[in-house]
């Protein structure tokens, strides 16, 4: 009789273990997906933010500066490259975060005359400036990125 009770108990434990295993499996797979989505969403929002800031700097003109903070903590090996591409008039952001590579591009509503690139790495700080500099020889506003 005692043996039979322990058999029931073992059966119940097995069922509970199966249930827990399934829940853990679903949990981990959902978490992996959510984490990747989290990084891409942050990058998207950041790229739109940079695009709008560049437009603002260009419109206000020389002497206006905006400080931008990237929405990530850069660990060893991680990097973020922000590039103002004057050939396609767009903001391009390439990043490596947690061993995964990402890339996003936003078209600008204003013309860019000068190409400007900035590389942010672990230890180099997580912010940069978007500056409007008046170019006297050409008579226009250059938007540049600087640390």
């Amino acid at each position: 009789m005692r043996g039979q009770i322990s058999l029931d108990f073992l059966f119940a434990v097995t069922l509970m273990a199966l249930l827990t295993l399934n829940l853990v499996y679903i949990g981990t797979s959902q978490r992996t997906g959510a984490e990747a989505f989290d990084v891409t969403t942050k990058l998207k929002v950041f790229s739109i933010d940079v695009r709008d800031s560049v437009t603002k700097v260009y419109s206000i003109g020389s002497g206006f500066e905006v400080k931008k903070e990237i929405p990530f903590e850069l660990k060893n090996g991680d990097y973020v490259i922000v590039r103002l591409n004057n050939a396609t008039d767009s903001v391009q952001i390439a990043a490596q975060i947690g061993g995964k590579e990402y890339y996003v591009e936003q078209k600008l509503q204003v013309p860019l005359y000068k190409e400007s690139v900035i590389l942010l790495q672990a230890g180099s700080g997580t912010s940069f400036w978007i500056r409007g500099i008046y170019n006297e020889t050409e008579g226009r506003v250059d938007v540049v990125l600087s640390p």
């Binding site: 990058l43 767009s90 995964k100 591009e105």
Partner: protein, 160 residues
């Protein structure tokens, strides 16, 4: 009858009952699994297709082998919002062969050549996405699950 004999008899009865229950389970479960294979794949395809649309609409390249097909599509819509929407699927079952057609709407006007590439790449992504699931096997353009062969077709049309 001594008490030890009676106890042995009870155990035989219990075994008989358990045998009947297990036979019932063995008969019911496979047929249940067979019918649920198609609906499981239905869920998988819907999940894969809507994840493809979400990825394309977000427009951020994730550079890995899973998203490589969709990155090709993103180069066509670079820098602007892609307007992809998952409209639904159609499942046609014919014996051991199941054809799944995925309908996706878009607001981007592609050239006919681009459109066929877009359809092809979204299909490739769906195949890659689903073959990472347990108990799904991929061979070429076919997916095998529960003894059935699934063919995926992607149809990209106007958003209207």
């Amino acid at each position: 009858m001594s008490s030890s004999r009676r106890r042995a008899q009870t155990a035989v009865e219990a075994m008989f009952i358990i045998a009947v229950i297990l036979t019932g389970v063995a008969l019911i479960v496979p047929s249940y699994l067979r019918s649920s294979t198609v609906s499981t794949m239905d869920v998988y395809v819907r999940d894969a297709a809507s994840s493809a649309c979400d990825y394309l609409n977000e427009g951020v390249f994730v550079i890995d082998s899973m998203h490589q097909p969709l990155n090709v599509v993103l180069t066509y819509t670079n820098g602007s919002y892609a307007f992809f929407s998952f409209k639904g699927i159609n499942v046609v079952e014919n014996g051991g062969e199941v054809g799944v057609t995925v309908y996706i709407g878009t607001g981007v006007s592609f050239t006919p050549t681009q459109l066929s590439v877009v359809e092809d790449k979204i299909k490739e992504y769906i195949l890659r996405y689903i073959s990472s699931r347990p108990n799904v096997r991929r061979e070429g353009d076919y997916l095998y699950m529960g003894g059935k062969r699934f063919t995926i077709t992607v149809n990209v049309g106007d958003n209207l």
